[in-house]
Symmetry: C2
Subunit: 326 residues, 2 copies
């Protein structure tokens, strides 16, 4: 078995340096409405306000900023349901690298359109019948391009971890001890990078991955002690979190650092999106709202605690959003 190249905390610090002036330092927000409902303080990290509307620009830039047009004339290829797509497209455009993104045909229109608007070429596939890995690798070979993995890579995880680094640094500056952190989880990149940060800076904090109900492979993998897959490929409104299973790099990092996984259903996700609209004045996409949904539906006890959560993205089609808030 190949030895995995795992990220460590220092990689997150290095990523933060690389991201300075490129990514937005998103704020930490507190809502008196949410605190009242939770019975404790809940600190919110709104990555929907990040460049390209999700945290994914962080990892993409940490990876792509090391490439250049001369050595990588074939540019980059990525597969993504849409947020990694936009992060890669934006990062590649800055580096003047061609980018091809393989996306499910049923991705939200806003994600496909934005990816194209950011200058990338988009190739769609059928989520239920085609293998995105295979399509991407065929393109990689044909173009002599570099693959930008969606989560299972040291640089990607370290980049995503910078969101948690900002959160932890804010908490330390404000003398707040965070007891628990809830992170939307697909392949495990964001939660893994976050776990590296908190287990170094605030080791007592429990880190909970939060997933859509039918896509709770992380929850089950943590119980099994090995990577297990989801039985389905469709059936959730959380398009950003319908990952087949965890990566091996991400799981190696996460299995030692995460508490049990939490899962929320579509109904709870919609309620969280409506709450974010009404109370937080933030546009959050379904997959970005799962951690908030876990708090609002009492899947996690926040009473008397200092909790933190990430709203990981805000790329949602207007028609869906209008329906959910109405």
């Amino acid at each position: 078995m190949t030895k995995l190249d795992l990220p460590v905390f220092a990689d997150v610090l290095a990523a933060a340096k690389r991201l300075e002036g490129m990514a937005i330092k998103t704020p930490v927000i507190e809502s008196s409405w949410l605190n009242d409902l939770a019975g404790g303080r809940v600190f919110i990290k709104p990555e929907c306000l990040q460049r390209t509307g999700s945290f994914k620009f962080r990892g993409a830039w940490n990876f792509i900023s090391r490439l250049n047009r001369k050595d990588n004339p074939g540019g980059v290829v990525a597969f993504s349901s849409g947020n990694h797509a936009q992060g890669v497209a934006a990062a590649a455009a800055i580096k003047n690298l061609p980018a091809l993104i393989v996306m499910p045909a049923d991705s939200p229109v806003i994600k496909i359109e934005n990816t194209k608007a950011l200058g990338a070429e988009v190739l769609t596939y059928d989520r239920a019948s085609e293998d995105r890995n295979e399509i991407a690798h065929r393109q990689l070979k044909a173009r002599g391009a570099v693959l930008v993995p969606p989560f299972d890579h040291k640089y990607i995880m370290a980049g995503q971890g910078t969101a948690a680094l900002e959160l932890a640094d804010w908490a330390l500056e404000n003398h707040v001890d965070i007891d628990q952190v809830m992170i939307p989880t697909g392949g495990g990149g964001l939660v893994g990078g976050s776990a590296l940060v908190f287990k170094t800076k605030m080791p007592k904090a429990d880190i909970y991955p939060v997933e859509p109900a039918l896509f709770d492979d992380y929850r089950r993998s943590l119980i099994a002690g090995e990577v297990v897959s989801n039985d389905v490929t469709t059936g959730s409104i959380c398009d950003a979190l319908m990952t087949p299973c965890s990566g091996h790099v991400t799981f190696a990092v996460n299995k030692l650092r995460l508490s049990n996984g939490l899962a929320v259903n579509d109904h709870e996700v919609c309620a969280a999106m409506k709450f974010a609209f009404e109370r937080l004045k933030l546009v959050v996409e379904p997959g970005g709202a799962v951690a908030l949904a876990a708090v609002l539906s009492s899947k996690i006890d926040c009473a008397g605690k200092n909790s933190a959560l990430v709203l990981s993205g805000g790329n949602v089609d207007a028609a869906m959003f209008a329906g959910i808030i109405s």
Copy 2:
């Protein structure tokens, strides 16, 4: 003529101290989409993320935090289309003071409901046929309460100015010279407090009040050199900015410090709200979006400049928001 008690820059600094730990230090956000459209950098201060969903908590707390239950058993009375209402209700609740708010019957439901949810009593009136001043003063007398003016008071203006103070301090820390600032304007409290800040900290910056087309009394007052009123009391979707005319305290501060006024129509406001949804992932109410609308509709030239604008509030009913983004 009574001498007006005008705020000075030091009042804003004092307000900032008073607001520490009570108000949210809202972030400064930059959007590559907006910069591309504007042809320059545009720094956004999203006060929709403020406690109670608008900047109004700042002024309300700066005023109400000086009162107490023992000396003010009658509590406070305010008139407001809804954002000042929520600011006053939240501040009064913290100080355990009873609060009565006189609101137009056609205020957005979310504003009336939130004001009640924050513990205030709400009295509605007909915007077209009744005088809110008269109703409020009748209640004041009956209750022995203190009036919390919506804008025309030193403490209110100084409180609102803290939003601009955070913006200016951010710009100084980040070595950004702001050339121009666009501020949503009703009675002139926010723009006045902001003008005090910028004319002290970044005196070269031009400050532009932005109003709804039919309610451009500030624009006309600046031309006339005296306070003139609007001819109408209804007819804009910007419920937060349908003020009859400027205050005298606010005008005295503003007439020496503002550049010409800008006005935007409902169509331009809706386009700005949709842009904020799609690109900024922020929920902005009509009145809160006028400065962004001025930039997007080229009412102000941002090419090659460093511009800043405030998104002043996000309290908008779901049905209206759904209609506008769809």
